[in-house]
């Protein structure tokens, strides 16, 4: 029984995969892909920070 549960914990939620497939904007995809780990909210927020810094520092 433990194995079944562990597999579910490690695999990304089905609805997130489905939602990701519905997105076309690569930035939105990155944000949703970051929604994982022990603190998905923090991970998503940190990804947005990274995206914004990349936008600031990238060369034209």
């Amino acid at each position: 029984m433990n194995n079944k549960l562990d597999q579910q914990h490690f695999s990304r939620e089905k609805y997130i995969e489905e939602f990701l497939a519905a997105l076309s904007d690569p930035i939105h995809k990155r944000l949703i892909q970051a929604y994982q780990g022990s603190d998905p909210v923090k991970s998503m927020e940190s990804e947005l920070g990274k995206i914004l810094l990349e936008a600031l520092h990238c060369e034209d």
Partner: protein
């Protein structure tokens, strides 16, 4: 999974340990209000989810702090809830939850600690097997968003709901995720835009800038065009900025020379400072002091080296004239010659230490040199930060004339910052001088082999003081930098105003900040796009929930709702679920609609139109329907006080619902404060032969729980009498009568045993052998014991008829008579 039993200690209303055994189909628990009935469902809920829904839904977690632990439980005991579950294969599994001091649950399965319950489905994804009155209230009579959450909870879509809320929160409030560096860029560009707005000559640029990224190209064409107007015609395009800067500098220099700037330490500088300080203290603490002290120890061997040299010479001379002293020429004997050789050998060994001494001296000198070099760099880094700013001191009078009275605050900021900085700078310079002086002394002591332990101590103290002063200096800079930055901006604008260079200054900044202007627009576009992400997730989740509620939930709920509906009900009823829509037909986010009809006409909402009793019925049906859906690991359903605000007819209708749930394989644990209704359930579900408990009292040690017989044997016998007398009774009725006789005999045996032996044995699952043994022990006549045990032959232990079974009226009549005979013993033992 069904529940075999539960043991509760020190949790909520339970103080002393209590155990309750559950029937695999139906268990009824009657208790007057406040007798701890709900604590049973809460204990189960807490065990499974780690929190009760009451605590989960409260706005004030503080109010519920410490509420899990029973107040009267002795300090030496720990609260726990233990449940034996029976899985689909009939195996028993013990789930135990211990309440920790920090109000968390510690889980163990069959005695082994676990992080989560080993279930085949994630429990947050399946409906909670609890139907609680307060939960129904949270489901229907709440704000739309809370109702949506309630439905998501019920449909096992909690994670989807949580996911949506988190994504929406990010999309609507991304500000907290914007790094400080970007906020600073935004602030600078916004200030530049404000200055641009005040320059009427630059209106074309302003209009283009307002278009955002779309107007960026147009804006910078206009910037260039305005620049050309202000620089000499021969200026080349790549020199425009330099030319503008020169024009401005020349103009403002007539009013003021100098710059107001006090930049804070960059991240890199802060890192370098911290690294240097770490190096200083680590070096002082270990390699330097250790090396220096070793030099001190090694210095004592110098005289040995001198002596060894003397003996080297002596041995050489002795080799030439072995029997005479090489220095005075007097004769020496063999033993003295041996002694001289031995001393020479010993000195040769000690001489090896000289090499170590030299090596150590070089290493210590290198270390001092490196330390000195880093101290110089450290000092230079700090000093350079404020050099330009401190140079303003002689010009304070001029600054005041320009800034005061209009910008008094900014002038004050400059003035006080200067004063404070001069103090901390002087402190730092002074302690720096002391450190440099000490380094010089240490260097000399090493080079002249005059090491001194006191010198090391003073050096260490000087370095500590210096770092402390440097930190104070850095702190003042960091504190003052933002105010000085603001003052510098204001001063720059005042200078431009006085020099008539405001437009040129704006153009300079627009050229200088071109990259950041573009980046600001790009970042704004990213942030703006989050609105689209929000819309997408709202629609996605709304569709998911709509799918769940309209496709299956509506028809399922309708099926159960029609079970509770009575014929006398006015035709105002629940008519299905939907999601609210906008005028354009798009699904509204997080808005579950509960539809209702009155005599065929659609009402605005069931919540506002249905009576409380109907809403109660609807809430129950939603919970039941969602619990029967999907692949839940739980085959039980806890129903707590379901019939509030119902009339007698609805109460009876709901008993049928319970019966049907049992038929569908659910293990029902039903609790109510209504004794009469519990008796009705027992009576209507007599053949289920479940378990019934009464919480007869409540004191500080907890509830007093007593198990009652499912059915009184007299009632059963009366029913059998009626069936036997009915000559038209079908074979099914006769079979039922025969089964009832078995229950009667079990209950009678249990009661006789209690009366004679004083020991209470549950009548549940007694078999022929046990009944025989108990009756014999009670001294019942053998022939009656034989006859009574004979009644067990035609039905198996589960009271089911065997394949060859055929109802036989005469046999049942005989059994019936024997049961009466046994019953008589209760009155006349």
């Amino acid at each position: 999974m069904k529940i075999k039993n539960i043991t509760i200690q020190g949790f909520r209303g339970f103080n002393e340990q209590r155990n309750i055994e559950f029937h695999n189909s139906l268990t009824l628990i009657y208790a007057p209000n406040s007798y701890g009935k709900t604590s049973i469902s809460e204990a189960l809920e807490w065990l499974i989810y780690g929190k009760t829904s009451k605590v989960e839904k409260t706005d004030s977690k503080e109010e519920y702090k410490g509420s899990y632990r029973n107040l009267h439980l002795p300090d030496s005991l720990k609260p726990f809830v233990k449940v034996i579950f029976i899985d689909d294969s009939g195996n028993e599994i013990e789930f135990r939850g211990d309440l920790s001091n920090d109000e968390e649950i510690k889980r163990s399965v069959n005695g082994q600690e676990v992080d989560s319950w080993p279930l085949t489905q994630e429990i947050s994804k399946v409906p909670r097997p609890f139907i609680l009155q307060h939960a129904l209230k949270y489901l229907l009579l709440v704000r739309p968003d809370e109702r949506f959450q309630g439905f998501a909870h019920l449909l096992g879509l909690e994670k989807l709901d949580y996911f949506q809320r988190n994504v929406v929160s990010l999309c609507t409030k991304p500000d907290t995720c914007i790094p400080a560096e970007i906020n600073q860029v935004f602030k600078n560009i916004s200030a530049l835009e404000a200055r641009l707005e005040s320059q009427t000559s630059l209106i074309k640029i302003e209009k283009a800038i307002k278009k955002g990224i779309a107007g960026f190209g147009e804006a910078y064409e206009a910037v260039l065009s305005e620049c050309w107007k202000r620089v000499p015609p021969e200026t080349k395009q790549d020199s425009i900025l330099a030319q503008l800067l020169k024009i401005r500098e020349d103009a403002v220099a007539k009013i003021f020379r100098g710059h107001i700037a006090l930049p804070d330490y960059s991240g890199k500088e802060k890192y370098s400072n911290a690294e240097d300080e770490r190096y200083f203290f680590a070096t002082i603490a270990d390699p330097f002091v250790k090396g220096y002290m070793e030099l001190l120890a090694l210095a004592t061997v110098q005289h040995i080296l001198d002596r060894a040299e003397f003996f080297d010479l002596g041995i050489k001379l002795l080799d030439m004239i072995p029997d005479k002293c090489p220095f005075c020429g007097r004769p020496i004997d063999e033993s003295l010659t041996k002694h001289v050789h031995d001393v020479h050998k010993a000195l040769a060994v000690q001489k090896g230490h000289n090499e170590i001494l030299q090596k150590q001296r070089t290493e210590t000198s290198d270390l001092i040199a490196e330390l000195k070099s880093r101290i110089l760099a450290y000092q230079s880094r700090h000093k350079n930060k404020a050099t330009q700013f401190l140079a303003l001191e002689p010009t304070l009078g001029k600054l005041k004339a320009i800034l005061v009275p209009k910008h008094q605050t900014h002038f004050k900021a400059i003035e006080t910052s200067l004063k404070e900085l001069i103090i901390v700078m002087n402190n730092m310079e002074s302690s720096y001088g002391k450190v440099i002086e000490m380094i010089a002394k240490v260097e000399t002591s090493v080079s002249e082999s005059k090491e001194d332990s006191a010198l090391v101590k003073v050096f260490g103290e000087a370095l500590t003081r210096y770092v402390s002063d440097a930190r104070s200096y850095a702190q003042v800079i960091s504190e003052k930098a933002p105010a000085i930055s603001d003052a510098a901006q204001v001063f720059k604008h005042e200078l431009d105003f006085l020099a008539g260079t405001e437009d040129i200054s704006v153009l300079i900044d627009l050229l200088d900040q071109k990259h950041n202007v573009k980046k600001k627009f790009e970042i704004e576009r990213i942030l703006e796009s989050l609105k689209d992400l929000r819309k997408t997730i709202d629609q996605y989740v709304a569709n998911k929930v709509l799918e769940a509620i309209s496709n299956e939930l509506t028809s399922d709920v309708m099926e159960w709702y029609s079970q509770i509906k009575t014929t006398g009900d006015p035709d105002v009823h629940f008519a299905g679920f939907d999601m609210e829509r906008t005028k354009k037909g798009e699904l509204k986010a997080r808005r579950v609609q509960i539809k209702a009809k009155s005599y065929g006409k659609e009402l605005v909402s069931a919540v506002s139109s249905l009576s409380e009793s109907k809403l109660n019925a609807l809430g129950l049906c939603v919970s039941i329907a969602s619990n029967l859906k999907g692949d839940s690991p739980f085959d039980f359903l806890i129903i707590d006080d379901p019939i509030q605000s119902w009339d007698a007819e609805h109460e009876i209708q709901f008993i049928e619902v319970i019966r049907r749930l049992v038929e569908r394989g659910k293990q029902i644990i039903l609790m109510s404060h209504n004794q009469k209704w519990i008796d009705m359930v027992r009576s209507h579900c007599r053949t289920i032969n479940g378990r019934v408990y009464e919480i007869a009292g409540y004191t500080e040690i907890g509830p007093h729980i007593a198990e009652l017989p499912w059915d009184k044997w007299k009632e059963r016998l009366k029913q059998v009498d009626a069936i036997i007398k009915d000559q038209t009774a079908s074979s099914i009725k006769l079979q039922q009568a025969e089964e009832e006789i078995r229950f009667v005999n079990e209950e009678l045996t249990s009661e006789i045993y209690f009366k004679i032996k004083g020991v209470k044995i549950s009548p549940k699952n007694l078999n022929a052998a046990r009944v025989r043994k108990m009756l014999v022990e009670c001294g019942v006549e053998n022939s009656l014991v034989d006859r009574i045990t004979q009644t067990f032959e035609t039905t198996d232990i589960a009271h089911h008829a065997s394949e060859e079974y055929a109802a036989h009226r005469q046999r049942i009549q005989r059994y019936h008579a024997w049961a009466h005979e046994l019953a008589n013993l209760l009155d006349n033992p």
